[in-house]
C-alpha cells in the first residue's frame, strides 16, 4: 500500500479545496472556512473516507466485507455500521423488486471491468445464479447468515454512502460556511455557499473524457451517476459491457443508456435511483420521468 496523501489548496476568499484519492476516484472536499480549520477537516474527511473504503472494499482481503464473505456458511455478528448498510440494502431490494441486490457479488467475482477482459461464460453465470438472491440470506438481530458460495458487494452503495456520511459529519463539525463533498462525480452539497452563489459541477462526457459535457448548478442537494466510461468489459465483437449487472442473469442490461445521472437530496438516494434506472434498460427514461427527479442520460 502506498502512502495515502491529501492536499489542501485555496480556491477563493475563504474557500478551500481538499483533494485525495479513494475508491478509485479523485475525491474533493470544498469548504468555506479558515485555513487551519479547513486543513483539520479535510484531513479528517480523507481518513474517514479511507476508513469506509478499507472497511467495505471487495478487493482487500482484510476488509470487513471480505471477512463477511469468507465466513459465508456460518452465523456472524455485524457491527452497527455494517448492519445499517445491510438493512439499507434490504430496503432497496424490497423497493426495487429485487433488481438492486448486493448478492450480485457472487457474479462480480468472475467479471473484470478493465476495458479489455471478456465476460465470463453464460453457462458459469447460470450456475452462479443459484448463489444469488437477497431472499436467501438471513439477517436476525444483528446476526447474518450468508449461505455458502454467496458473496456480498457494496460497490453500488459504498461510495455514495461515504459521500453522505462525510458530508453529514463535516456539517456537524463546521458551524457555518458552504460544504460540498464530491467523490468522482457522486456528490453532496450539504450546505450552500455563504454568498448564495451555487456550486457548479461538471458532468463528465463519456465520449471525450476530461471535457465536461454539462455544467450543473446547485445550491444544496446531491448528484450521482451510474454507468461508467471507465469500468467495462468487452464482448467478442469488442463492444463495451457496463458493470451494472442484472441479478437475475448476471449479465449487464442491454439497450439502456450508457450512464444515468440523478439529482436529488442525498448521494445514496441518487445512486440507488440511477442504478435502478440503468437496470430498466430501454425504459430508463420513462422510469426517471415518473420519479419526478432531475436527471441526465448519456
Amino acid at each position: 500500500m502506498t502512502e495515502r496523501n491529501w492536499q489542501c489548496q485555496q480556491k477563493g476568499e475563504g474557500l478551500w479545496l481538499g483533494t485525495f484519492e479513494a475508491m478509485k476516484s479523485p475525491c474533493e472536499i470544498w469548504l468555506e472556512t479558515g485555513e487551519e480549520n479547513a486543513r483539520a477537516l479535510i484531513q479528517w474527511a480523507a481518513s474517514e473516507t479511507w476508513r469506509i473504503e478499507e472497511k467495505y472494499s471487495r478487493f482487500r482481503s482484510d476488509s470487513v466485507l471480505s471477512q463477511i464473505n469468507q465466513q459465508a456458511g456460518q452465523w456472524q455478528t455485524l457491527d452497527m455500521e455494517t448492519l445499517s448498510l445491510l438493512n439499507f440494502a434490504d430496503e432497496c431490494w424490497r423497493l426495487t423488486d429485487g433488481m438492486i441486490d448486493i448478492t450480485v457479488g457472487t457474479y462480480l467475482k468472475h467479471w473484470h471491468f478493465d476495458s479489455n477482459t471478456r465476460p465470463p461464460p453464460r453457462k458459469l453465470l447460470k450456475q452462479l445464479a443459484a448463489s444469488v438472491g437477497w431472499e436467501k440470506i438471513q439477517l436476525q438481530q444483528g446476526n447474518l447468515l450468508l449461505p455458502e458460495g454467496m458473496q456480498l458487494d457494496l460497490g453500488g452503495i459504498g461510495k455514495e454512502y461515504a459521500v453522505d456520511a462525510v458530508a453529514l459529519a463535516l456539517a456537524a463539525k463546521l458551524a457555518e460556511g458552504g460544504i460540498m463533498v464530491n467523490f468522482g462525480g457522486d456528490l453532496m452539497a450539504i450546505r450552500a455557499k455563504l454568498d448564495q452563489s451555487p456550486w457548479t459541477v461538471g458532468i463528465e462526457n463519456i465520449v471525450a473524457d476530461e471535457s465536461a459535457v454539462k455544467v450543473i448548478s446547485l445550491f444544496r442537494g446531491a448528484i450521482a451517476t451510474s454507468g461508467s466510461t471507465k469500468r467495462y468489459a468487452v464482448d467478442k465483437r469488442g463492444r463495451p459491457l457496463g458493470h451494472i449487472l442484472n441479478p437475475k442473469t448476471g449479465w449487464p442490461v442491454a439497450h439502456g443508456p450508457a450512464s444515468v445521472t440523478v439529482i436529488a437530496d442525498t448521494a445514496t438516494q441518487c445512486g440507488m435511483l440511477s442504478t435502478y434506472a440503468m437496470l430498466q434498460g430501454e425504459q430508463a427514461e420513462d422510469f426517471l420521468q415518473q420519479q419526478d427527479v432531475r436527471f441526465l442520460l448519456q
Binding site: D164, A167, L168, A171, A172, A175, M188, I190, R191, D265, T266
Partner: protein, 77 residues
Amino acid sequence: MKLFLIQGIALVLVMALSGCSHLQPQAVKPWQRGILARQNMAISPNPVQQGLDDHIYFSKEAASGGSGVGGGGCGCN
C-alpha cells in the same frame, strides 16, 4: 429583574410573529441537522460550568435537580 424574562419572552414572540419558522414543527432529515449539531445548540453546551453552577445553587438553595439523575452527594446542604 423580571425585565430580562420579559425580554426573553418578547424575543420568542417576535420570532413567532415575524413568520420565522423557528416555532413551526417540521420534519428534519439527517442531512438537515447541521444547525442542531452545533455546540451552542446542545442542551448543556458548557457542562463543566453548568456543573459548577449547579453545585453553587445546590449548596445555597432549597431546590435542586431537574437536569438528570445521580451526580454525587454533598454535605453542603
